[in-house]
């Protein structure tokens, strides 16, 4: 049984078919790349999986169970976390607080005990903070743990998005252009971190990325979309030489 399966996922926005009958399966432990020119429908696929949009037709399965149209917060609780292409942190909150929000799914005390500040609520908050701190260390953000996230440089904001998503303890991590706007050094570090998330933490990763070197070096399977339709699927060597893919990217003048 695949971890995530998209079966004929289709979504229309008015007259526009943003994604048409996309079908792919992600196995546990995959480093799965989703690429394609601008406007190909990649982010829309993420939105279908995470319940931001309900597919016009087709379905999404997670661990064999249908999750089509499940609201985003329930999808997160099931074990799918994501980052956003146009960074969506909680700007006024500190780095640490951003990550604690991601960890909240696993808190165990009720609202009432927080309102009267019982020791159990304090202990629970401390526990989530400690867990968040571990993730912050893994993503190399400990020097800015108390900085407002809006004040971080771009590259660190992207890493914080990953830390926050990791805090939900997902099985499947969706990364939407995690290396966008990073310099070569940062992007190199990120590549190693993402690989570590799979190798050391057992996460399955689905990633959208425009930086071809990044995708080709990292991913083991690549799914290519163009104008909402699948044009290729396979390992990096195959995708690199696929005439259809080259054509699609040349058409975009990349």
């Amino acid at each position: 049984m695949s971890l995530l399966e998209m079966r004929k996922g289709t979504i229309h926005f008015g007259g526009l078919v943003a994604v048409s009958e996309a079908t792919f399966a992600i196995e546990k432990g995959d480093l799965f790349g989703l690429i394609g020119p601008n406007g190909a429908g990649k982010t829309t696929c993420f939105n279908m999986i995470t319940g931001v949009y309900r597919p016009t037709s087709g379905s999404v399965y997670f661990k064999g169970k249908q999750i089509t149209g499940t609201p985003p917060n329930r999808v997160a609780a099931l074990g799918i976390a994501r980052t956003f292409q146009n960074i969506r942190l909680f700007p006024a909150l500190s780095v640490l607080e951003n990550v604690v929000v991601g960890g909240f799914l696993r808190h165990r005390t009720g609202l009432a005990s927080a309102l009267i500040y019982l020791p159990s609520a304090i202990a629970e908050t401390d526990r989530l903070r400690a867990e968040a701190m571990d993730l912050i260390r893994i993503l190399d953000l400990e020097d800015v743990a108390d900085v407002r996230s809006a004040d971080l440089p771009y590259g660190k904001q992207r890493r914080l998005e990953i830390a926050r998503a990791m805090a939900t303890q997902p099985e499947l991590l969706l990364l939407d252009e995690p290396a966008a706007g990073m310099n070569p050094q940062e992007s190199e570090d990120l590549l190693r971190t993402v690989r570590r998330l799979r190798d050391d933490f057992g996460k399955t990763i689905l990633l959208i990325e425009h930086d071809m070197r990044f995708v080709m070096n990292l991913c083991e399977k690549i799914f290519v979309l163009d104008h909402g339709e699948e044009i290729a699927f396979g390992p990096p060597e195959k995708i690199r030489n696929d005439p259809g893919v080259i054509q699609a990217y040349l058409g975009e003048a990349v």
Binding site: T50, V52, P71, P72, N73, A76, A77, A81, R82, F84, R88, L89, F90, P91, A92, L93, S94, L96, E97, V100, V101, G102, G103, F104, L105, H107, T109, L111, A114, L115, I116, Y117, P119, A121, I122, E124, T125, L128, R129, A145, D146, R164, A165, A167, T168
Partner: protein, 404 residues
């Protein structure tokens, strides 16, 4: 053990403060007593609206409606059932507070659930409409006394209880934002979509905040009804909602401390203006000067705090000088305006009572704050020891400080 002790100390301190306020108020005349009581109610109202608008990022503009629901619920129950009830005195008042809170929270659920599930500012429109609907219903129901209002018996003059409610409201909000639970509320304010993607049940958080805020307003309403002994629909008109909203915005949406300070300040201001009798006996000149002074005070408060916060540079001494400079400039500005206005003969004759201008003052204050410092006096900051240290230029001990 340490926890129990600390908690007992805090509760004792809160009670002590409330009784001190009570003793002070009761040593004054009736008018001052009422002022102190109203200030306490306004603190509760603005801090509870701040929970909805500032902390959770929703936009409710009809908070007086929930105040009214609580007041009429408590008042009506007292009129009907106090005689012959087994419960008397303070205990009865506590029951009425709980009833008012429950009724307002229920109303909050009915109003909030449909509008909070949607994105956007539907809540603003719905709460405004709800306020008017409640007012009109009450006006047309004879059991509530219609437009003439309702006598509420028995009366209670427990100013300490009014302030205890205010302190509890502050404590609850403060506890919330310092716990992981509260971060969910802040996350919803910051970015609903991202919060949802992190597993936060956005609708539930919003409805919870709305019901909790409404419940405090309802409890305050029940206390008002029994303190005044008389309530009319006019007590809860739109402008009361507007005043509460101004308090929250002026204090800095999201800052509990800001809400408290501006509630105390703005609930006193109109009374101050109303009672003002200058040498000319309430002419426009005097009024104008007071208005100008009030506006200046607002701008200055905003300016000072901005200086302190945004200019982390500079020595404490230079900052103190800056503050003194601004205060001096204000006083001079006030005198110039006062004399300038008195100089124009026509204006000197024109009689306008300061009290009539209070809504104008609120509106202008709101506009000025929005233009000069949209984040309000304290922005998101809270008054804490660490914050005071930061202002004074003292480094806080290395411990994660959590600004709300």
């Amino acid at each position: 053990m340490k926890f129990v002790l600390g908690r007992l100390l805090s509760i004792a301190a809160a009670l002590g403060l409330c009784f001190a306020i009570d003793v002070f108020a009761h040593s004054q005349n009736d008018y001052t007593q009422r002022l102190v009581a109203l200030a306490g109610l306004y603190v509760t109202l603005s801090v509870s609206l701040n929970l909805i608008n500032g902390i959770t990022g929703q936009f409710s503009i009809g908070h007086a409606a929930f105040y009214q629901v609580g007041a009429y619920c408590g008042g009506f129950l007292s009129v009907r059932f106090y005689d012959g009830s087994p419960v008397h005195g303070l205990l009865w008042l506590l029951v009425m507070m709980a009833a008012g809170a429950a009724a307002a929270a229920g109303a909050g659920l009915v109003v909030g659930l449909p509008s909070l599930r949607l994105r956007g500012d539907y809540l603003a429109i719905v709460t405004m409409g709800f306020g008017e609907i409640i007012r009109i219903i009450v006006q047309n129901v004879d059991a509530f006394g219609g437009p003439y209002g309702m006598n509420v018996q028995p009366k209670f003059l427990h100013i300490w209880l009014i302030w205890l409610l205010a302190v509890s409201c502050i404590a609850v909000c403060r506890n919330l934002v310092s716990s992981a639970h509260g971060l969910q509320f802040l996350a919803v304010r910051e970015d609903e979509i991202a919060a949802g993607a992190m597993g936060v049940n956005v609708t539930r958080v919003k409805v919870t905040a709305f019901m909790l805020g409404s419940a405090f307003a309802g409890a305050a309403g029940a206390l008002l009804a029994h303190f005044e002994g008389f309530i009319t629909p006019a007590t809860f008109a739109m402008d009361v909602s507007f005043i509460i909203l101004t308090m929250v915005v002026l204090g800095g949406s999201g800052s509990i401390t800001g809400s408290v300070i501006s509630a105390a300040f703005l609930s006193y201001l109109p009374e101050y203006l109303r009672g003002l009798k200058g040498p000319e006996g309430g002419t426009l000149a005097v009024t104008g000067a007071s208005v100008a002074a009030a506006l200046f005070a607002t701008i200055i408060a905003a300016g000072i705090i901005r200086r302190l916060l945004d200019q982390a540079r500079g020595t404490p001494r230079s900052r103190a000088l800056g503050v003194a400079g601004i205060v001096g400039a204000t006083l001079i500005g006030k005198i110039v305006i006062q004399w300038g206005l008195l100089f124009i003969p026509y204006l000197r004759e024109l009689k306008i009572e300061a009290g009539q201008l209070r809504m104008v003052i609120f509106a202008v204050t709101l506009i000025i704050v929005m233009l000069l410092r949209p984040q309000g006096m304290l922005a998101h900051h809270e008054l804490s020891w660490a914050f005071i240290g930061k202002i004074l230029g003292i480094k806080a001990p290395a411990k994660a400080v959590t600004p709300a």
